[in-house]
């Protein structure tokens, strides 16, 4: 496709690797915010219709929500929970970072076998979208804190969104706005749930939720 889209994709991969490697929850929230802003730029560079108003609207909405509102909601939740700011993973950070490139290589292999249109096949978009989805799933599964699981969900959604933007050339504005609204509602609800978990249990460690309160 073009070089700027590939640069955004490489940036996406780097933010994913950073998410796999950092332990600070605040840093993770910021990285996801930066990822959201980069994704907001994606439809503009992918379709290159600089005059079309709906692309600009979409980009603005995505950057505002993913780069502004979600990080604000999540960091407020983090501030109000008196929990330690470090995540304790099931899978260590070094191993997570090594898993990243392996998963990326798998995604390249998988996407080379997908029947894609010749227009989209040579670009990085599809494999990186798959990789982002896998990283999101990995974050949900391998981290203990409820907050990181919300972040994993957001990264997962970012991956699905990248996939959609690349494949559907003319997605109606209404559908994309609907998806954004769903994600917004989900993050809102999850923020409230984390708040309640924290008030009941004094921590947001999902691994310990199964043990009874004393």
């Amino acid at each position: 496709m073009n070089n700027s889209v590939d640069t955004i994709m490489v940036f996406l991969v780097l933010t994913n690797l950073m998410l796999l490697g950092t332990s600070r929850l605040g840093t993770c929230i910021r990285v996801v915010a930066i990822q959201g802003i980069a994704l907001g730029l994606l439809p503009l560079f992918l379709h290159r219709n600089w005059g079309e108003i709906h692309l600009w609207l979409l980009a603005g909405a995505i950057m505002g929500l993913k780069g502004g509102v979600f990080p604000w909601l999540l960091s407020r939740t983090l501030r109000e929970s008196n929990d330690s700011r470090e995540d304790e993973p099931f899978v260590g950070y070094g191993l997570s970072v090594v898993t990243g490139p392996l998963a990326l290589a798998t995604c390249f292999w998988v996407s080379s076998r997908l029947p894609l249109s010749p227009q989209i096949a040579p670009s990085l978009v599809v494999p990186v979208a798959l990789f982002t989805i896998m990283v999101g799933l990995f974050l949900i599964v391998s981290r203990k804190k409820a907050l990181t699981q919300v972040l994993g969900y957001l990264v997962l959604e970012n991956g699905i969104y990248t996939f959609g933007v690349a494949l559907a050339q003319k997605q109606p504005l209404l559908v994309e706005m609907g998806i954004l609204l769903d994600v917004f509602a989900a993050v809102f609800v999850m923020g409230i749930i984390i708040f309640h978990i924290n008030r009941e249990f004094d921590h947001i460690d999902t691994d310990q939720l199964s043990s009874l309160r004393s």
Partner: protein
């Protein structure tokens, strides 16, 4: 062909200037006047005047370490180009020889350190080897990605083949390789996020502690080899990051030398602005560099 001679002469003469530039940058950041830019040359001169003291418990390995280290790094200097100036020797696959000349240098430094029987030197040797084992995949993967990108298998052709046009076409790959090699450059040269060259506590030293028992000309060899190592890895990095290839030697070579000096300033800025990482964090940094290299390799192999 005058290029290889210019290249080697510049390396041999200017290499001790790089630590001087780094120290001067750190001094300016700290608000000090700092030591003279040529301090390393003075140190080398002073050390060469002295005699060496050898412990009775050491064997020939202890004396061989610095000599082999210096010869290995001089051989590496023969392989590396400077900007557009080609290297003296180049053959297919010499990038592997380049990587493992550093390995030989490290191996004999470590043996010499262990030969003294000092507990501190053993500890430093163990750390040095651990970090080197993690930095090596990053270096080799990065060079492999670069070889694939430029379609050459010798270091000299690879690095002189990088051009502004290639930066336009494959900027993600080159930027990833450059970032990865920069981390390797800092780790291999015992610079700050990995090792603190100014520390005076044996417990926290890595590279410095291994050479504590060397003195006189032996230590001069070690100091000179360290500056040459800085120069050799820096030249690889500059070959990628400063792709000025006008075809005229009197423009390209000074541009590369200026790039080296800027690199030294950058290292000085990093050393002034951040602290050394915890020992447990260093593998994470090196694994990150390896991930960058693998990513670059995946991008070019696709």
């Amino acid at each position: 062909m005058v290029e290889p001679y210019v290249n080697i002469m510049l390396a041999i003469i200017l290499a001790p200037l790089l630590p001087g530039v780094i120290n001067r940058t750190k001094a300016i950041f700290a608000g000090r006047r700092g030591q003279p830019l040529l301090q390393v040359y003075f140190d080398l001169w002073k050390l060469m005047q002295k005699g060496a003291v050898y412990s009775r418990t050491t064997t020939w390995l202890f004396r061989a370490g610095p000599v082999i280290g210096l010869s290995a790094i001089l051989a590496a200097i023969l392989l590396v180009p400077l900007g557009a100036a080609e290297s003296a020797i180049s053959f297919k696959g010499d990038l592997i020889l380049f990587a493992y000349l550093f390995g030989i240098m490290r191996f004999f430094t470590v043996l010499a350190a262990l030969d003294t029987g000092s507990a501190f030197e053993g500890m430093g040797a163990s750390r040095e080897v651990t970090f080197a084992a993690l930095a090596e995949p990053a270096l080799l993967m990065g060079l492999a990605a670069l070889a694939r990108q430029t379609n050459y298998l010798s270091l000299s052709h690879m690095l002189t083949g990088v051009s502004p046009a290639m930066w336009g076409a494959a900027s993600p790959v080159l930027a990833l390789v450059a970032a990865s090699l920069f981390v390797v450059f800092l780790a291999e040269n015992a610079r700050i996020p990995v090792d603190d060259p100014n520390t005076h506590l044996e417990l926290t030293m890595i590279h410095e502690v291994m050479v504590l028992d060397h003195g006189g000309p032996d230590f001069a060899f070690i100091v000179y080899a360290a500056s040459l190592k800085l120069w050799a890895l820096g030249a690889v990095l500059i070959g990628i990051a400063v792709p000025i290839r006008s075809g005229r030697l009197w423009i390209d070579v000074p541009a590369a030398v200026a790039g080296m000096l800027l690199l030294a300033v950058l290292v000085g800025i990093i050393e002034s602005s951040m602290a050394r990482l915890k020992l447990l964090r260093v593998p994470q940094l090196l694994l990150g560099a390896t991930a960058f290299s693998i990513l670059a390799l995946v991008l070019v192999l696709r």
